[in-house]
Symmetry: C2
Subunit: 225 residues, 2 copies
């Protein structure tokens, strides 16, 4: 892989760098090409675009990667798959960010320089590619995405299976506590088998449930002996 | 760079492959991981997202790259800078595409498989990274981008500089032809110096103009002798 450019950014260290691009829109940075790639012609037409993509290298994170990571946005306790995050600890250490093009200087003493805003990388970040942001292909307005604090897409909802008989003495507060407990998805690891049955004790009752399509289905309910 | 997966796609050859993702939304393809990267845990939470990015390799294009390319969408005659296009003929040969997640199978005989739609790559395309499409960061609804057929963002408009005196005999049709000629931007190469003056002969007149901010400013006008 050739480093075609470096980002010149005010962020000297990782501390304070935004977790995604465009969160600090006032921050200016510069894309400065390496000598081999200083071709003003290679930017012809880039001024027709308002934004660009850069594919870059998380160069401060070395070669380490892990199948699961703990996204800071989830409090640092919830493990998610690395391919479900933009974490640096990924195979090949590639970053992807969209930046706003503020101006393009073609003939600086250092060759062409692209002034950008919205950068989320530290100073000196190596850049492997620059591509225009093409709205009709790249902007998907109805895309869905993101986790809840528990790492689920949505909190689990709850329902009782048809055969379950609720004790007449059951407490509304207990039912609310059960709903809140299940909403956080108490399953110990990522297990999406809808047939797997879990056992939960919540005084004064115990119950079994399975989870299918975001719903915890309570299969049995009884008093703890 | 490690190849973490390959795309299994119905496109056996480059011919017919769409130029961007999501242009053929009915086309299904599969992301099949290489043995070293078959970790079901690495996908935990990806089902929270509707779309994903893949960074992939234009493996059929070898190592060649060129500072300028001729995008097919511009008729193949207009040269644009490679960094203003998504052309394969780029340093490092990296492709970037957004795909819709149709389903995720965690335990196939070949490990986890992601079924996607909207793919714009040939069968066997090597994949370097998979990232979730995060709408709040990646979808920029007001982004601007694209060329006109002439390679300009917009056709050039035209005005006469203050000191220019139009001959009383000037023809409306001639003025319209001049406007159309300038709209196509007759400048021979990418030259964005607003002070550079060009000479144009369009019978029965000749004129000089410069171009600033998408406007051709006519500086002098006279009859061809």
């Amino acid at each position: 892989m050739h480093v075609i450019a470096h980002l010149r950014s005010p962020y000297v260290e990782k501390f304070g760098v935004p977790r995604q691009g465009n969160l600090v829109p006032h921050l200016r940075a510069q894309i400065v090409f390496t000598p081999e790639f200083r071709h003003r012609e290679a930017l012809r037409g880039l001024d027709c675009f308002s934004h660009l993509w850069i594919i870059w290298n998380f160069h401060l994170n070395g070669e380490q990667w892990s199948p699961t990571v703990r996204p800071p946005r989830l409090g640092g306790n919830t493990r998610m798959g690395v391919f479900a995050t933009r974490s640096p600890f990924r195979p090949n250490g590639l970053g992807l960010s969209v930046l706003k093009i503020e101006s393009i200087e073609l003939d600086s003493p250092e060759g062409p320089i692209i002034e950008v805003s919205g950068a989320d990388m530290v100073d000196g970040t190596p850049i492997y590619d620059i591509k225009p942001y093409i709205p009709y292909a790249d902007s998907i307005e109805d895309a869905q995405g993101g986790f809840s604090q528990s790492g689920q897409c949505q909190p689990l909802s709850m329902r009782f299976d048809e055969g379950v008989i609720l004790p007449a003495s059951i407490d509304e507060d207990w039912l609310a506590a059960l709903a809140e407990t299940l909403a956080q998805d108490p399953r110990p690891a990522y297990q999406d088998d809808p047939n797997r049955v879990y056992h939960l004790m919540l005084r004064p009752y115990e119950l079994s449930f399975r989870v299918e399509a975001g719903v915890a289905i309570i299969l049995e309910l009884g008093t703890i002996r």
